[in-house]
C-alpha cells in the first residue's frame, strides 16, 4: 500500500464543526420565525416530535382513535401494548400511533405469539447467551449479579427479569417482514468448518424467483427533520475540584500554544501540567497524563508508532471489553438489529469489518440457534489488519468460532481477510451469493471513522457495501466530533469526551482491567492529539455527521426499537458502578452515555434503493 504523505485535510463535511462554536443563530430553535422546516410544526419539533403541520389534524384523530381503542381493550390489551409490542422511533408520532392502532386492531384474539405461549413471555425479558467456548471470554454474570443485589439495586420490572439467564432475543418486530420463498432445501445438519481458502458452494435448485419482494424505498433523509442541526456540545462535569479546573486550564492553554505554533510556551506548559496532574486523584489525573503525553509528542515531533503491535492491541481490546459496557453494548445492539433483519432467512452472511477476536458473534450464533424454526446457515467473513508476527490470527478466530458453531449445531462457514485498510476491499473478493439465496449484513464497530483519514476511502467502502446488497448495515461509532479542521477544537472535544469515558471506568472492580482499558483509550488520545494526515485515524464524528454521510451515500435508517433499548438497559445494570450509564433513543438509533453524556451510538441502515445498487 502506497503511503500518502501529503497530509491532506479530511474531506470537508458541511455539518462538522467549523472552528469556533456557533454563535447561536440556529434557526431550528427560533419559535418566532415563520420558517417551515419541511412543513414540520416547529414548536413540536423543538420538543422532540416530528409532525407536519398539514398532518396535525390527522395525528389528532389517531390519538382520539387510540384512546377509544385503549378504553375498550382495558388492562390486558394495554399491558400487551406496553410489554410485548416493540415500539419504534417515538419522534415520528404519526407512525408510532399507527403502529399501536394496528396492534390493537385486528381483534385481540389474534396473537402472533399465541403458539409460543409462555415461551414468548419468557423470551421477552431476555438476554443473549454468553459464548460457551472456553477460548472466548465470558461474562461472569453470577458475580456481577450478586454484587448488585448486595448494593440493593432496584429492579424495575417484575419477576420475569429476575432471571439473568441468557436466552435468545426474540427479535419479533412490529412490522412483520415478508419472508422470501425457499428455492432449495436446507443442507445436512453437519457443520463443516471452512476457513479462509476453502469455499462452500451451494447450487440453487431452479431459477431464482423474481426479486419483487423488496419494500418500496422510504423517503430519503427522513431522519434529519426536527433534529437540531446546529452542532451540539454535550458536557458533563463530574469533578468540580479546584485542582481539576486548573489542570483543564493548563491543558487548554498548552493546546492553544500548540495551535499557534508557539512551541516554547507549549513546552513550558506541558511540563507544568505534569506537576499539576500529580496532585490530582482518579480519572482526571490519568486523562491529563495521557493528554500531556500526546501534547509532548506533538511538540517534540516524537510521533507514536503506527500501527500497534497486533497481539498487544488485542489484549487491550479484550480488557476494555470486560471492564466497561461499551463494546458489549455495541455488539448487543448491533446483533439485535441483525437478528431482526435475518428473520425468516435460511442462509445468512455477516461481513464484519471489525473482526478482532470475533467476540460479537457467539452471541448472535446462539440466538440464531435458538430461533423458532431452527437456525439459518451462518456464513461469516471477517476483516482485520495484518499481524506483525505473521501469525494468521484471523484463522485462529475462525477456528474457535467454528468449534462453537459445531457445539450449538449451526451450519457455519468462515473466511478471513487481512487488509491494511477497508478501502482495499473489493466486492468481487467476497464470493457473494444472490440476495435471494443468502441475506447479507455488514457490521462495523469503531472502524469506519478510520477511513476518513484518506480522501475517497469512505466513499469507496460505501460503494463496495452497496454492491454487497446488504439487508442491513450496522454501525457503531463514538459519539463525538474529533475530526474538525481546527486542532484546538479537536483537543477540547476529545478532552471532554475521554474525561467522561475515564470517569466511567473508575467504578470498575478489577484494577488490572481498568489499567488496560486506560492504556487502550490512551492510545486513541495520542492519535487524536499527536498525529496528523493519514496517521490520524481516530477521526470520530457525531451521529448527525454520519447520518449525512450515509444518506448522501444512498442508505436509509432502520430503526432500533424498544426491545433492544430495554435489554441494553438491563445489560448496563449488570456493570459495577453501573448507575451512571444510560441508554437513549435518538430517532431510531441507540446511544450509550455516562451521566447523560452520550458516548457511543449504534445505528442501522439499509439501501435506499436496492435496484440501483448494482451501479457503482
Amino acid at each position: 500500500m502506497k503511503r500518502d504523505h501529503n497530509h491532506l485535510q479530511p474531506n470537508p463535511d458541511p455539518s462538522s464543526l467549523r472552528g469556533a462554536p456557533s454563535t447561536g443563530k440556529a434557526k431550528v430553535w427560533d419559535e418566532e420565525s415563520a420558517q417551515q422546516d419541511c412543513g414540520m410544526d416547529e414548536l413540536l419539533a423543538v420538543l422532540g416530535y416530528k409532525v407536519k403541520t398539514s398532518d396535525m389534524a390527522e395525528v389528532a384523530q389517531k390519538l382520539e382513535q387510540l384512546e377509544e381503542v385503549m378504553c375498550n381493550v382495558q388492562d390486558d390489551g394495554i399491558s400487551h401494548l406496553a410489554s410485548e409490542t416493540v415500539h419504534y422511533n417515538p419522534s415520528d408520532l404519526s407512525t408510532w400511533l399507527e403502529s399501536m392502532l394496528s396492534e390493537l386492531n385486528p381483534p385481540s384474539t389474534f396473537d402472533p405469539f399465541g403458539a409460543a405461549g409462555t415461551a414468548a413471555a419468557a423470551l421477552d425479558d431476555s438476554f443473549l447467551v454468553p459464548a460457551e467456548s472456553s477460548t472466548l471470554t465470558t461474562l461472569d454474570f453470577d458475580n456481577i449479579n450478586r454484587k448488585h443485589q448486595k448494593s440493593g439495586q432496584q429492579i424495575f420490572e417484575e419477576a420475569s427479569c429476575s432471571d439473568y439467564d441468557l436466552k435468545a432475543i426474540p427479535g419479533k418486530a412490529i412490522y412483520s417482514q415478508k419472508t422470501q420463498p425457499q428455492t432449495h432445501d436446507s443442507s445436512s445438519s453437519s457443520t463443516p468448518t471452512n476457513v479462509k481458502s476453502e469455499k462452500r458452494f451451494k447450487s440453487t435448485s431452479g431459477p431464482p424467483s423474481p426479486s419483487d419482494i423488496f419494500p418500496p424505498p422510504p423517503p430519503p433523509a427522513a431522519a434529519s427533520y426536527g433534529i437540531p442541526t446546529a452542532s451540539t456540545r454535550p458536557v458533563v462535569l463530574v469533578d468540580s475540584q479546584e485542582n481539576g479546573i486548573r489542570l483543564v486550564h493548563a491543558l487548554m492553554a498548552c493546546a492553544e500554544a500548540v495551535q499557534q505554533n508557539n512551541l516554547n510556551l507549549a513546552e513550558a506548559l506541558v511540563k507544568q501540567i505534569g506537576f499539576l496532574a500529580i496532585s490530582q486523584a482518579g480519572a482526571m489525573r490519568k486523562v491529563a497524563t495521557y493528554f500531556a503525553e500526546a501534547l509532548a509528542r506533538r511538540i517534540y515531533r516524537f510521533y507514536p508508532q503506527n500501527p500497534l503491535d497486533h497481539s498487544f492491541s488485542d489484549v487491550l481490546h479484550m480488557h476494555f471489553y470486560e471492564t466497561c459496557p461499551y463494546l458489549k453494548f455495541a455488539h448487543f445492539t448491533a446483533n439485535q438489529a441483525i437478528l431482526e433483519a435475518f428473520e425468516g432467512k435460511k442462509r445468512v452472511h455477516v461481513i464484519d469489518f471489525s473482526m478482532n477476536q470475533g467476540m460479537q458473534w457467539p452471541a448472535l450464533m446462539q440466538a440464531l440457534a435458538l430461533r423458532v424454526g431452527g437456525p439459518p446457515a451462518f456464513r461469516l467473513t471477517g476483516f482485520g489488519p495484518p499481524s506483525h508476527d505473521n501469525s494468521d490470527h484471523l484463522q485462529e478466530v475462525g477456528c474457535k468460532l467454528a468449534q462453537f458453531a459445531k457445539k450449538i449445531h449451526v451450519e457455519f462457514e468462515y473466511r478471513g481477510f487481512v487488509a491494511n485498510s477497508l478501502a482495499d476491499l473489493d466486492a468481487s473478493m467476497l464470493d457473494l451469493r444472490p440476495s435471494e439465496v443468502e441475506a447479507v449484513a455488514v457490521n462495523s464497530v469503531f472502524e469506519l471513522h478510520k477511513l476518513l483519514a484518506r480522501p475517497g476511502a469512505i466513499d469507496k467502502v460505501f460503494s463496495v457495501v452497496k454492491q454487497m446488497k446488504p439487508e442491513l448495515v450496522t454501525i457503531v461509532e463514538q459519539e463525538a466530533n474529533h475530526n474538525g479542521p481546527v486542532f484546538l477544537d479537536r483537543f477540547t472535544e476529545s478532552l471532554h469526551f475521554y474525561s467522561t469515558l475515564f470517569d466511567s471506568l473508575e467504578g470498575s472492580v478489577s484494577s488490572q482491567d481498568k489499567v488496560m482499558s486506560e492504556v487502550y483509550l490512551g492510545k486513541q488520545i495520542c492519535n487524536v492529539v499527536a498525529c496528523e494526515g493519514v496517521d490520524r485515524i481516530e477521526r470520530h464524528e457525531s451521529l448527525t455527521q454520519w447520518r449525512n454521510r450515509l444518506s448522501t451515500a444512498g442508505f436509509s435508517p432502520v430503526h432500533l426499537g424498544s426491545n433492544a433499548f430495554k435489554q441494553a438497559s438491563m445489560l448496563l445494570a449488570l456493570f459495577a458502578g453501573g448507575d451512571g450509564y444510560g441508554v437513549e433513543e435518538n430517532n431510531g438509533c441507540l446511544m450509550l452515555g455516562w451521566h447523560n453524556r452520550p458516548l457511543i451510538t449504534t445505528s442501522a441502515w439499509k439501501l435506499t434503493n436496492k435496484t440501483t445498487a448494482i451501479s457503482q
Partner: protein, 373 residues
C-alpha cells in the same frame, strides 16, 4: 361511555391550540401504558419514549448548558443553564463555572414535573422550558434530575432537592456581586412545584435564604374528593384515577393522601405562621382537576401571613406552559419575570435613593438658605 367521551374530547380540543392538544394527549396515552395496575412502573419503556436532549455548551439563542454531577452516591445530576452576557459573549468550555458578573443574578433551582414518576432534567420539554426561563429572567437555571417514584419514594425527591439547594448555595461562582450571596429562587411545575414547597421548608429550618417560590400547577392532594376533582375528572387530560396512582407510587406505603407531603395544610400538616417562608407565585389552571387543592394551598399560605400571589388562568389546562402558543403562556411568563426581577429593581432603586436622595435634600436646603441669605 362512548358519547360522553366524545364530548370530553371535543371540548378539550377547543380550549387548547391543536399542537398543544396533540402534545398533551400523546403524553396522556403514553403514560397510560406506563402505569401498571399493581403500582409498578414500566421504566424502560418510559425512558425509551421520553424525548431527551443533551446539554449544549454552544450558545443557542443566547443560552448554553452543561450537566454537573452533584452527588455521586445517588448519581444526582443537574443541568445548569447560563445566559450569554455582555462580558461573556461566548462560553469557554474550560470555564463553564466562571463566576457570574452581574450585580444581581437570580439563580432559579427548577424541579421538572411528571407527577414524581415521569420525565427528567434532560427531557426536551423541560430543557426548552428552562432555556425560556433563562432568557426571561436573565437568570442561571439549575434543573435538578431528582430520583423518581415508584422506585424512589418520599422523601427521595425532597432529599435530592435539598442536596441541590445546598450545592447551589455553596457555589462561589453563583454569588451575585452585590452581596456575595447566591440569590436563590425555587421553581417547579406539577410534582416539581410540590418539591419546591418542601425544599423551601427545609431551607428555612437550616437558615438558607430562598428569595421566592414559583409554583406552576403544583401537585397537591388529599383524601377528600373535592368539587373540582369530581367536576373535572377525565375532562381535560387528567383523571382522578391516575392522580391516585401517582400518590400511591410516591407516598410511603400505607400512607394516605393526607400525608403532609401531599396535603401540607391538611389534618397532618403544619401551620407556617411566624415562619419566614419565601414569597410565592402560584399559578393555577382553571381546567386542572386538582385546583381546589392548589387554591387551598394558597389559602394556607395567606392564613399563615405569608406573601403569596395567585395567578388563576381560567381556560388553561395542565401543561399549557410547555408551548408558547397561548395567551396564558405570555401572562404567566410576564408575571414570573416580574416576580424574579422585583428584587433586583428594588435593590437598584434603593441604592440610587441611598446615594443620591440625601444629597438632593441637602442641596435644596442649602440653596434655600443661600437664597434667603
Amino acid at each position: 361511555m362512548g358519547r360522553s367521551k366524545e364530548v370530553n374530547l371535543n371540548e378539550c380540543k377547543m380550549v387548547v391550540p391543536l399542537n398543544t392538544w396533540v402534545l398533551i394527549s400523546n403524553f396522556k396515552l403514553a403514560y397510560n401504558l406506563l402505569r401498571r395496575p399493581d403500582g409498578t412502573f414500566n421504566r424502560h419503556l418510559a425512558e425509551f419514549l421520553d424525548r431527551k436532549v443533551p446539554a449544549n455548551a454552544n450558545l443557542v439563542d443566547g443560552v448554553f448548558s452543561f450537566d454537573v454531577l452533584i452527588d455521586r452516591g445517588t448519581s444526582l445530576l443537574s443541568r445548569i443553564y447560563r445566559p450569554a452576557t455582555a462580558e461573556e459573549p461566548q462560553p469557554n468550555i474550560a470555564e463553564l463555572e466562571k463566576p457570574v458578573t452581574a450585580e444581581v443574578v437570580p439563580v432559579i433551582i427548577f424541579f421538572h414535573g411528571g407527577s414524581f414518576a415521569h420525565s427528567s432534567a434532560n427531557s426536551a420539554i423541560y430543557d426548552t422550558l428552562c432555556r425560556r426561563l433563562v432568557r426571561l429572567c436573565k437568570a442561571v437555571v439549575v434543573s435538578v434530575n431528582y430520583r423518581r417514584a415508584p422506585e424512589n419514594r418520599y422523601p427521595c425527591a425532597y432529599d435530592d432537592g435539598w442536596t441541590a439547594l445546598k450545592w447551589v448555595n455553596s457555589r462561589p461562582w453563583l454569588q451575585s456581586q452585590k452581596d456575595s450571596k447566591v440569590h436563590i429562587y425555587l421553581a417547579g411545575d406539577s410534582s416539581g412545584g410540590n418539591i419546591a414547597h418542601h425544599v423551601a421548608l427545609r431551607a428555612i429550618e437550616s437558615g438558607i435564604d430562598v428569595l421566592g417560590n414559583i409554583l406552576l400547577n403544583p401537585m397537591f392532594g388529599g383524601q377528600e374528593r373535592t368539587e373540582s376533582e369530581k367536576r373535572l375528572d377525565g375532562k381535560y387530560f387528567v383523571t382522578l384515577r391516575d392522580r391516585d396512582w401517582y400518590w400511591r407510587a410516591y407516598l410511603p406505603e400505607g400512607e394516605d393522601r393526607d400525608h403532609p407531603a401531599c396535603n401540607p395544610f391538611g389534618p397532618n400538616g403544619r401551620s407556617l405562621e411566624g415562619i419566614k417562608f419565601p414569597k410565592s407565585l402560584v399559578v393555577v389552571a382553571g381546567l386542572d382537576l386538582i385546583q381546589d387543592w392548589q387554591l387551598a394551598y394558597v389559602e394556607g399560605l395567606k392564613k399563615a401571613g405569608q406573601e403569596v400571589k395567585l395567578l388563576y388562568m381560567e381556560q388553561a389546562t395542565i401543561g399549557f406552559y410547555l408551548l408558547p402558543s397561548s395567551n396564558h403562556f405570555h401572562t404567566v411568563t410576564d408575571e414570573i419575570s416580574k416576580f424574579v426581577s422585583s428584587d433586583s429593581i428594588k435593590t437598584i432603586g434603593e441604592r440610587i435613593m441611598q446615594c443620591i436622595g440625601p444629597l438632593l435634600c441637602v442641596d435644596y436646603v442649602c440653596l434655600f438658605k443661600c437664597f434667603l441669605g
